[in-house]
Symmetry: none
Subunit: 243 residues, 2 copies
């Protein structure tokens, strides 16, 4: 199921227009994080053209953490590059990603009108979604952004669809080489051995493979490998610092 | 070249929002047929956020016939079935059709807010375009309709990257919920604290965000969260086993 989350929305009109866009595309689950003017909101009702009445109750949260607690995959919308390693999806590739996860709880988050999503909010997202716009004129209001995103990710429901593209924004860092990853994983295995993590020798290859799979799936950067080494040293209480 | 034509638009705001959407997607040629409140229009200027100033002069016509005289292919937008034999395109098939005719003059016509295109106007179109919407809630205002149509027919121009298809194989496990991930990250932070990982308090928020970013990017499963907990326990030498 797809849930739309508006983080710190300022104008009731935009909440109403979001509800309207959601109903245009058959969605009913809306969550708000600290709406500036409180909730319920008269202007939201007026603008929604009856959409709010057709939907589930709108849930209001104090923090994004709480709002996404029951979600499996979280997509943040962003107009600009971030200093973080995040998968950046086009609306089409987001649609594809969501279609693959049809049995999961998916959240699509839109930031406040003036600021967009904050970096702390972006950090909680599995991926970012950017709407392709003319770089020389890319002002799009909140409700318009909601409309375009929901159109793309639901259109297969009301018509027929197709392809995908996805680019990863490495935020200035560089992807780690396989060697760097292998070095880290070797050290991790030694440290886990020292802590008697592998209780049954027969299961070791499977466990190693699963750990590898996890660390490679994340598209890890050089900087992150260094951080992980630092974390290992801290967790082992410096026992392996000088190896 | 693509020209947008608004037939008998009533509200200046919608003309301004149309101009804005056109600039969002890099289009500059707008024509009006008998705008109710005349032209130029102050409210159109206000709503356009500078888009009108960036465009060619808006041309005003008395009839659709005159407005499309130099066009090679005319697409009318319509929310409903017509009693006429017309090719009906989805936004995607319209995009394809337009791409085939890149050296032609293409017009996309939007009818008046209240009535949509009149049958006489539809008769002049080569094809109709309908945006796929929830049939039970299909009210879409004029400017929103323009936005969706222009997004679809221009998006290849601003899209990044090439077609990719990505499927995540969860290997029988289920994606972890945000709550499960948050619990793990909280424990990890405590354990890192105990190992004096955060040497400079000022850098803690950034480091936490980077760690979060890494673990959410990996599309972690429930099984993997359990494995990570086990790894932490082993690395800490059971110090945290029973927390």
């Amino acid at each position: 199921m797809i849930t739309v989350i508006l983080s710190h929305p300022q104008m009731g009109e935009n909440i109403g227009a979001t509800a309207r866009a959601m109903q245009n595309f058959g969605l009913s689950s809306l969550r708000l994080i600290n709406p500036r003017d409180g909730w319920p909101n008269e202007r939201a009702n007026a603008v929604s053209s009856g959409a709010l009445e057709r939907m589930e109750n709108v849930a209001v949260f104090d923090s994004l953490n709480d709002a996404v607690a029951d979600m499996h995959y979280v997509i943040g919308t962003s107009a600009r590059q971030r200093d973080m390693v995040k998968k950046v999806l086009s609306p089409e590739s987001a649609a594809f990603e969501i279609a693959q996860r049809h049995d999961q709880n998916i959240a699509i988050i839109f930031g406040a009108e003036r600021t967009g999503l904050l970096n702390d909010e972006v950090a909680l997202c599995n991926a970012l979604l950017t709407v392709p716009l003319n770089p020389e004129f890319s002002s799009l209001n909140l409700a318009q952004c909601v409309l375009l995103v929901l159109y793309e990710i639901t259109k297969d429901k009301y018509a027929a669809g197709e392809p995908v593209s996805s680019v990863i924004d490495y935020g200035g860092s560089y992807p780690a080489s396989r060697q760097e990853i292998a070095n880290f994983l070797n050290r991790l295995e030694r440290d886990l051995d020292a802590g008697r993590f592998f209780r049954e020798e027969g299961l070791r290859p499977t466990m190693i493979r699963n750990i590898q799979s996890f660390f490679t799936r994340a598209d890890i950067t050089e900087q992150e490998v260094r951080t992980l080494h630092g974390m290992l040293s801290a967790l082992r209480g410096n026992k392996t610092r000088n190896q």
